[in-house]
């Protein structure tokens, strides 16, 4: 890194925004290559992304941790199949420590603007903590990092405490409180049993009922002997990874017009509901009114068992109105509560970072994406040279580990950097034709899929255009086949000479 005298701008070859799985994975790969001219800017006071922000009681990964971790950094010490969030956060911190690149990370550095400069062919990145210029910019800002809270009439009149699962306030005790829990997504079903156990009462606002995977019946915790075996014989971890990976891939086809496999998945989930909930009225409320897979299928955990507890009320409608300490469902029923917990997820279709990235001619990425996110190989878009977008358009999986996709995107970036170095390329910009070809190919695969045709509102589809912009409508394996290598023919390349 070098400090240019005049502008107080720090020059760097590669700059990544965000120190979650993506930023850290990239840091590991660059460091291992002996490439140190990079910096990772992180707005918060620590690394970890999702796993630093989500500390609500019960937080854990739902993809088993032996798969939901880097293939190049296996961890023999996971305590459980679905590791607690705190362990994943520690794992990510350990990654940085073990690989020795804390010096490349700037914490408490919120990127406020990144501007492409055509004269110098560099990105200028303004932050709350200094300015950088970089040849390559990577947005590693996550797709589930900016929280979404619905607009609720009268919420400002609520006298009690309001939480979002991704911004938990551990200073406020919840023992003996009356709690409204809003949402039935992945976070809600994890926090729900924990709240039920300590609260006086919990009312659960359910806009739509979730489908669950059937419980595997496997023992959650790993024994000391198993962990020692993993450390002594790492192939045992790789075997587990493969097993979970291919099992999970098996859950993809039901999402894309395979009637028999769709029926099988739906029947299994509904049978689990049937066996768990005897009361027909309650069961009706818990029966999803859309096709399985249209929303994320959730890990079974203790959701149904918790619903049956005496201090729990299921309100099968959305929270629509608050009046003082009374909260009302769309059905009109009201409840007195002390605390509202929003488990209402994140803004994924219109990521916030898109409005602070200014490309050729000063247009923002958000402008360029006003009809929905799109990018060649899910990573680069015309008008934004030398920019890699990660966890952006068509990268989300409903059925397998996000880290597998993240690693593919990291491979793509590393491959590109190696290419431009050997070929002395200074500027790369993908062509509109290549982007369109990719968008069309993805759209063709999404036709008739459960996300588009499953009869639900989900966060995978852009509400403005009804295009599937968040999910990847194919096997995870296929993402890596197509999108882990730089393809020069998708780009206009400008050389130094």
């Amino acid at each position: 890194m070098s400090q240019s005298q005049t502008h107080n701008v720090t020059d760097v070859e590669v700059l990544a925004i965000g120190a979650g799985f993506t930023g850290i994975g990239l840091g590991i790969k660059l460091t291992r290559q002996g490439f140190h001219d990079f910096v990772i800017l992180e707005r918060e006071g620590d690394v970890g992304g999702t796993w630093r922000d989500n500390t609500y009681p019960g937080v854990a990964c739902d993809v088993p941790a032996h798969l939901y971790s880097f293939s190049f950094k296996l961890n023999p010490n996971w305590s459980k199949i679905q590791a607690p969030g705190g362990e994943i956060w520690d794992y990510l911190r350990d990654c940085v420590t073990d690989e020795g690149f804390w010096d490349n990370i700037r914490l408490n550095t919120d990127v406020t603007r990144a501007r492409w400069n055509e004269d110098s062919k560099r990105w200028f990145v303004e932050t709350t903590n200094g300015t950088w210029s970089a040849k390559f910019l990577v947005t590693a800002c996550g797709h589930l990092s900016d929280t979404r809270t619905p607009e609720i009439d009268g919420l400002d009149t609520f006298p009690g405490d309001i939480f979002h699962t991704a911004r938990w306030n551990h200073n406020i005790p919840l023992e003996g409180k009356r709690i409204a829990l809003v949402g039935t997504g992945a976070s809600a079903v994890q926090v729900f049993p924990e709240l039920q156990a300590i609260a006086e009462s919990v009312v659960l606002f359910q806009r739509s009922a979730p489908y669950f995977f059937i419980p595997s019946g496997k023992h959650q915790a790993f024994t000391d002997a198993q962990r020692r075996l993993f450390a002594r014989y790492p192939q045992a971890m790789r075997d587990i990874r493969s097993e979970i990976f291919w099992y999970s891939e098996g859950n993809f086809p039901p999402r894309v017009q395979v009637p028999k496999l769709l029926e099988k998945a739906r029947n299994a989930s509904l049978k689990y509901l049937q066996e768990s909930i005897a009361d027909p009225e309650l069961r009706a409320k818990l029966t999803p009114n859309y096709e399985i897979g249209c929303k994320r299928i959730l890990g079974p955990g203790r959701f149904y068992a918790t619903i049956l507890q005496d201090n729990v009320t299921l309100e099968a409608s959305a929270l629509t109105r608050v009046d003082g300490s009374s909260v009302y469902g769309a059905n009109g029923d009201g409840y007195e509560v002390d605390v509202i917990v929003f488990a209402t997820g994140f803004d994924a279709t219109e990521p916030k970072f898109a409005s602070i990235i200014f490309g050729v001619g000063g247009q923002t990425l958000a402008d360029s994406w006003k009809d929905g996110m799109k990018a060649t190989a899910s990573i680069s878009t015309p008008g934004f040279p030398n920019l890699f977008i990660t966890n952006g358009p068509n990268t989300s999986l409903g059925h397998n580990s996000a880290v597998y996709i993240i690693e593919s995107q990291i491979d793509y970036i590393i491959d590109t950097l190696n290419y431009v170095n050997t070929h002395h390329v200074e500027r790369i910009e993908t062509t509109p034709e290549s982007e369109q070809e990719y968008v069309d190919s993805v759209a063709a695969r999404a036709v008739g899929s459960v996300w588009l045709a499953g009869g639900c509102n989900n966060w995978y589809v852009d509400r403005r255009t009804q295009r599937l912009t968040v999910s990847w409508p194919d096997f995870a394996y296929q993402f890596r086949q197509e999108n882990a290598k730089f393809n020069p023919t998708d780009y206009v390349l400008e050389s130094v000479f």
Partner: protein, 284 residues
């Protein structure tokens, strides 16, 4: 009622020397890839062995499959009989042009023989858990299975632990295995005749005639057709490449996604690996 195994599935029958053979076809219409023909194994059917592979491949190309069928009144079924059923369906649905053929277990014996006798039609060939010549290990295993026929519960248990890979079985209960494995298809009489055929397979002479670009898929933990048979095919077929997947013989139920994607990748670009290559198993 049961849903079809693939979107827009077309089902029909052809007559092969007086036997009515059911076929299934579906898949991408405008694909540049040649249609792929699937041939199931003993006690299987299209639905029983290919409910994952069929719809997965159908996303990219046309897929044709048939249910091998008993020939009533004929006490012994031969490889040639089954080959004629394949030819009947192929000639009806895809009368001309290149095709790909995939066979699984006994189906791969039929597929290899068909490819040997139709080198002008079969451009690509996939042999999953196949073999050339039955050996002592298979015969003894079949003797023991046959001896247990009188004790259905024991027979079923033995069949399950032989079909699935050892590590897969180790992590599941017997009930789990029973739900994963669908009941045998084809009827007891036909299964009996195919079992007899399994004992006398020998397609050694056909090996040199296979001209197709071939992928051999062996299963690491296979105890019914152990992997040395796949390696023998790898040696015997000139234009072949070999890959091994971490599964037992019942790969169509145990690792269907890994199987389907290995096949998809091969059919999309059969010459990506030159003849003689060992394709490493993916480490996700």
């Amino acid at each position: 009622m049961a849903e079809p195994i693939a979107q827009d599935l077309v089902t029909g029958t052809v007559d092969v020397d007086g036997t009515t053979v059911t076929y299934f076809t579906a898949g991408k219409q405008d694909s540049k890839l040649p249609p792929v023909v699937l041939i199931h194994g003993t006690a299987g059917s299209t639905e029983n062995h290919f409910s994952f592979v069929f719809p997965t491949l159908a996303r990219d190309q046309r897929v044709v499959s048939l249910d091998l069928t008993d020939i009533v009144g004929k006490p012994e079924i031969t490889v040639a009989d089954l080959e004629r059923q394949v030819a009947g369906v192929v000639n009806h649905l895809v009368p001309a042009g290149p095709i790909s053929v995939l066979g699984y277990s006994l189906g791969s014996v039929v597929a290899a023989a068909y490819a040997a006798h139709n080198p002008d039609r079969v451009q690509n060939l996939v042999l999953v858990a196949g073999w050339i010549k039955t050996d002592t290990q298979q015969l003894v295993r079949q003797d023991v299975q046959a001896a247990l026929r009188g004790d259905m519960a024991a027979y079923k248990k033995l069949s399950l632990v032989l079909a699935f890979g050892v590590p897969f079985v180790a992590k599941r209960t017997l009930d789990d295995l029973l739900t994963i494995a669908p009941p045998p298809a084809g009827g007891m009489e036909f299964i009996g005749k195919l079992s007899d055929l399994n004992r006398i397979v020998d397609i050694t002479d056909d090996m040199g005639k296979i001209k197709a670009t071939t992928l051999i898929i062996g299963c690491t933990y296979d105890m019914m057709v152990p992997r040395h048979h796949s390696l023998a095919l790898f040696g015997a077929i000139e234009d072949s490449r070999y890959t091994e997947l971490s599964s037992g013989h019942a790969i169509v139920w145990e690792r269907p996604s890994e199987l389907a994607l290995a096949v998809r990748e091969f059919l999309a670009n059969p010459n990506a690996y030159p003849a003689g290559s060992i394709i490493p198993e993916v480490q996700p």
